[in-house]
């Protein structure tokens, strides 16, 4: 493989100047680089969201505390929720979609490489616009759910809600563009022989996620448009005095919001479904069932939204209907957990860091799933909704589930992405600290919720029995923070002097491990022919039904590599993203800016479209 060194991104970078390197990243359309950009931006936002959480935990460490003001606390939980959902977990998943989908389906890039870069730059601008609110001292304070009519101009007159609304709108555009891109990539760019049922389960879960993204985001886009018109142009959608119903927002928000929960968890489920077989050295148990249950979860995900609204008074019929659909959705989820257990059963389990995090996922997600079943019953939900019991529940799902799953993926694919192995010992310390800290933080919150502590309160009285466990929870939060310092330390240490990773350090089962670490810019010198879900395993060990491994293919020739064409870098994605932000942020400043930004956006869309229309004169027939 050393002969391909000249095509590796690393080798190319050495010949560039500093500004050349910067420019090469700003204009990149390589899915791997876009993936790295997504991953590193998401991790920084994750740290910001984490610091917000720590400040909140400090404030709640004791009753009647005055570390931060009521206003600041409300801003903190709003930004913490918004950041973690839209700027940390979703883009961390997007990082893996970007980097891994083409590698695992045997493709050289995504279907629309420039659109992919555009998605990233729009995401980054949306995140930055949202955080610009700190600089303008108008930090969003309506909660990540932004319930109307508290967000109306009457009750939130400052620009804080505007920043939130516009930021979310921009992030939604980014997610949807990426969603279309991955949908087409997965359907249309699978290597020959990779039928739908031969797709790795991570690809399947990503596939379902993309459907959820492109179908759920329009609902919040509309909800935000209505809010924008209410705030800027005097419409009455959420104005009770004119007959408008604030519950309309809740319905539209949760039509988006519940699929969003699955958008956050399905990629992690996909990662776990890759990591467990690799380290148990055994195929995923009941893979078709895991796939179908993923599809069921995705489909039912559109029919359960009102279980977030059992307390609003929808009437017994609606309560009962949404209760039943919610309980139904628990079936495929439970089935998945048992399939993962059976994957381990009878295996030969190698205990390496990626597996630890996947096992952590199963252990913790089970807890979150089961407490979720409790809320499926509306009478029980009426006691638990908007209490810390729910806070504990969804942190067991989104931290114990998504974050553990994503870190499993990070440890698993790190050597593929960087070419260096992360330190196993530090990895395990990270895991145990995170596991311990996580449970110390969030397990007591179940209890706090059951003894009546509501969510989103910046202070509480000292005579309600909440004091001790709040303090414990705060201590746990700092243990989690410490565990991430260990992770950062691990990254720094191994980047400087880590073990060099072989193409296939874990004895992997899928195609990404068949190419060098890190992969060359074109990924596959020769597009593979696929015969099995665990194609690489088949090539190495046979098909598991007694079939011998196939003979080694002939080495790749220089001519084959010379015939590969990769799309050239492009400046248009980043410029277009900037123009869109100019347009959207104009709503905060002046309508002239909106118009100028809009025209600029149109012009740049034209340039973007025309870039590949006719590369040069004379090529026409």
């Amino acid at each position: 493989m050393a002969t391909h060194a000249a095509f590796m991104p690393g080798a190319k970078v050495e010949t560039l100047t500093f500004w050349g390197v910067i420019a090469s990243w700003l204009t990149t359309v390589d899915h791997k680089r876009v993936g790295i950009l997504y991953g590193s931006s998401a991790f920084i936002f994750f740290l910001i969201g984490g610091i917000e959480a720590l400040i909140m935990r400090l404030q709640l460490a004791r009753p009647d505390n005055d570390l931060v003001s009521a206003q600041t606390f409300n801003e903190l939980f709003t930004m913490h929720g918004t950041t973690m959902v839209f700027l940390a977990i979703m883009p961390m998943s997007a990082a893996f979609f970007n980097y891994m989908i083409p590698l695992m389906i045997g493709a050289r890039d995504v279907a629309f490489p420039r659109l992919n870069a555009l998605s990233y730059w729009i995401f980054l601008s949306g995140g930055l616009l949202l955080h610009a609110s700190f600089a303008f001292k108008a930090v969003p304070d309506g909660g990540w759910f932004g319930y109307a009519n508290l967000t109306s101009a009457q009750f939130s007159p400052s620009h804080s809600i505007d920043f939130w609304m516009l930021g979310l709108q921009i992030l939604g555009i980014s997610s949807m563009l990426a969603g279309f891109n991955f949908l087409v990539t997965i359907i249309n760019m699978r290597a020959p022989g990779m039928t739908l049922m031969r797709m790795p389960v991570f690809i399947w879960m990503s596939f379902v996620t993309q459907f959820l993204i492109v179908l759920a985001f329009p609902a919040i886009t509309v909800a935000l448009i209505l809010l924008m018109f209410d705030r800027f142009f005097g419409t009455l959608f959420y104005a009770p005095a004119a007959g408008g119903d604030p519950l309309l927002w809740q319905h539209l928000f949760w039509i988006f919001g519940h699929p969003e929960v699955y958008i956050l968890i399905l990629p992690a489920m996909g990662i776990v479904s890759e990591v467990l077989p690799t380290f148990a050295r055994k195929p995923l148990f009941g893979a078709p069932v895991v796939i179908y249950s993923g599809i069921m979860i995705g489909f039912f995900g559109f029919g359960v939204w009102s279980h977030h609204m059992f307390s609003v008074g929808m009437g017994p019929v609606a309560d009962a209907a949404f209760s039943i659909t919610t309980m139904l959705i628990a079936v495929p989820t439970g089935v998945k957990i048992l399939n993962w257990l059976c994957t381990l059963w009878g295996g030969s389990i190698r205990f390496q860091t990626p597996l630890y995090f996947s096992l952590g996922f199963i252990a913790m997600f089970t807890m979150g799933g089961l407490s979720g079943v409790m809320h499926a019953s509306p009478p029980v939900d009426l006691q638990q909704t908007d209490t810390y019991f729910v806070v504990a529940h969804f942190h067991y799902v989104l931290f114990g589930g998504s974050i553990f799953g994503l870190f499993s993926g990070a440890y698993y694919w790190w050597p593929k992405i960087t070419g260096k192995l992360l330190d196993e010992r530090l990895g395990k310390v990270h895991f145990w600290l995170m596991m311990l800290g996580f449970n110390v933080t969030f397990f007591p919150q179940h209890y706090l919720g059951l003894i009546g502590m509501p969510r989103r309160i910046y202070t509480y009285a000292g005579d309600l029995g909440w004091n001790f466990w709040n303090l414990v929870s705060t201590i746990g939060a700092f243990m989690i923070a410490l565990s991430f310092l260990v992770f950062i330390g691990n990254v720094i240490k191994t980047t400087r002097a880590g073990k060099v990773a072989s193409p296939d350090p874990w004895d992997g089962r899928t195609l990404e491990w068949s190419i060098p670490s890190p992969p060359p810019i074109y990924n596959f010198a020769r597009v593979p022919q696929v015969h099995d879900r665990d194609e690489l395993w088949r090539q190495k060990h046979g098909d598991g039904h007694g079939g011998a491994p196939p003979p080694k293919p002939a080495p790749v020739t220089a001519a084959e590599i010379a015939a590969i064409h990769m799309p050239p870098p492009s400046f248009w994605p980043i410029l277009l993203a900037l123009a869109m932000v100019v347009m959207m942020s104009g709503l905060l400043i002046s309508m002239y800016q909106v118009i100028v930004g809009g025209l600029l956006t149109l012009f740049l869309m034209y340039k973007f479209a025309m870039e590949l229309h006719r590369p040069a004169a004379g090529h026409r027939h």
Partner: protein, 112 residues
């Protein structure tokens, strides 16, 4: 570029391949249905539920004609059909559910 042309021909037209003749027939059908729709509105004495249901049916037929013939979905690959029809069904179900939640059905067949 000949080969490119054949690619587009097979993908653009698919198997059944609508012709200009078909397009014009479809357009005439659409015009007639629209005419009937508007005319129905001016016929006195039609019970409201009948009016609503017949209007919805007629617009569904128009919808199908445009999607099936003008957009070639009738002839196109099943992946394309799934990509459009699936979301369309989810959207329709959600509209119906939202109407139920807001008691909007009570208002639909409203007497004049």
């Amino acid at each position: 570029m000949a080969d490119h042309g054949t690619t587009t021909a097979t993908h653009g037209g698919g198997g059944g391949h609508a012709t200009v003749r078909t397009y014009i027939q479809v357009a005439i059908a659409l015009a007639i249905i629209t005419g009937v729709e508007v005319a129905t509105l001016y016929i006195p004495g039609i019970p409201n539920p009948v009016l609503v249901i017949s209007l919805l049916l007629m617009s569904a037929v128009k919808f199908y004609l445009v999607v099936g013939f003008f957009m070639h979905l009738k002839y196109d690959h099943q992946i394309m059909r799934a990509l459009f029809v699936g979301p369309l069904l989810i959207a329709v179900i959600i509209i119906l559910a939202v109407m139920a939640l807001f008691s909007a059905f009570l208002l639909l067949p409203r007497p004049h």
